[in-house]
Symmetry: C2
Subunit: 110 residues, 2 copies
DNA sequence: ATTCATTGCTACAAATTATGTAGCAATACT
DNA sequence: AGTATTGCTACATAATTTGTAGCAATGAAT
């Protein structure tokens, strides 16, 4: 499956409801991590590679293409950066950071 | 990689910061879809299978185990259901639904 | 002007993950 | 007793991701 396009069948949804297309896009490895990182400011390919630790350049490049084709990031003189829509989306996922800290306490027992 | 546990290395993060563990968990196929569906009410295994259309029982069962082990869903007499934490998380991802509808207009040109 | 470092990738094999289909034991219903 | 539904497991095939190597293009330093 290629780029998940709302309204067309996407990975796991024949109707391609927007939320399903978004889940398909964000569910791919490192997609949310890339957005999270770019929210702090533009970053080069190598910068993203360092941030994402173990991502392969193959995957990173694929992810970048998808996010660009989805209007969430663009290439600027300073590197890749979030678009206005990308920033909006970040605003929605940002609260997960704080929530995740609370959630992580469940596992502290081990 | 097995269950992503905050504080331990997860898929793509050696330090396992909570947000990274959460992204690993939610990034797996159908994880967010399952939460989205259970937010409407409890659902049986077969109910989830129908909702998720193309998911294989193998994947669904794996995802269910992970979400249970992560304290986000539980098995009840009525089927699988969100825990309080799962409901909290849903509250955070729910706004994505509306946003996705606006985002999808980008693609309408084709 | 030429080394040297950095950047933005591509190629490709190996490992991991997901799909698709079959099927089966355990309950519930008729 | 027979039939349907549920909650799975098994297993082969397909798709995705990782890990590593490497290379052309740009820029800085000598």
């Amino acid at each position: 499956m290629n780029l998940p396009i709302p309204g067309q069948p996407v990975r796991g949804s024949k109707t391609g409801q927007p939320i399903m297309a978004l889940f398909d896009l964000l569910g791919r490895s490192w997609a949310m991590g890339i957005i999270w990182h770019l929210a702090k400011g533009p970053s080069t390919f190598r910068g993203l590679q360092t941030y994402c630790e173990s991502i392969s350049p193959t995957s990173l490049n694929k992810r970048i293409k998808e996010l660009r084709d989805s209007y969430l990031i663009v290439k600027t003189i300073d590197g890749y950066a979030l678009t206005e829509q990308g920033k909006e989306l970040y605003g929605l996922i940002e609260p997960l950071g704080l929530w995740a800290k609370g959630w992580s306490k469940n596992f502290k027992k081990q």
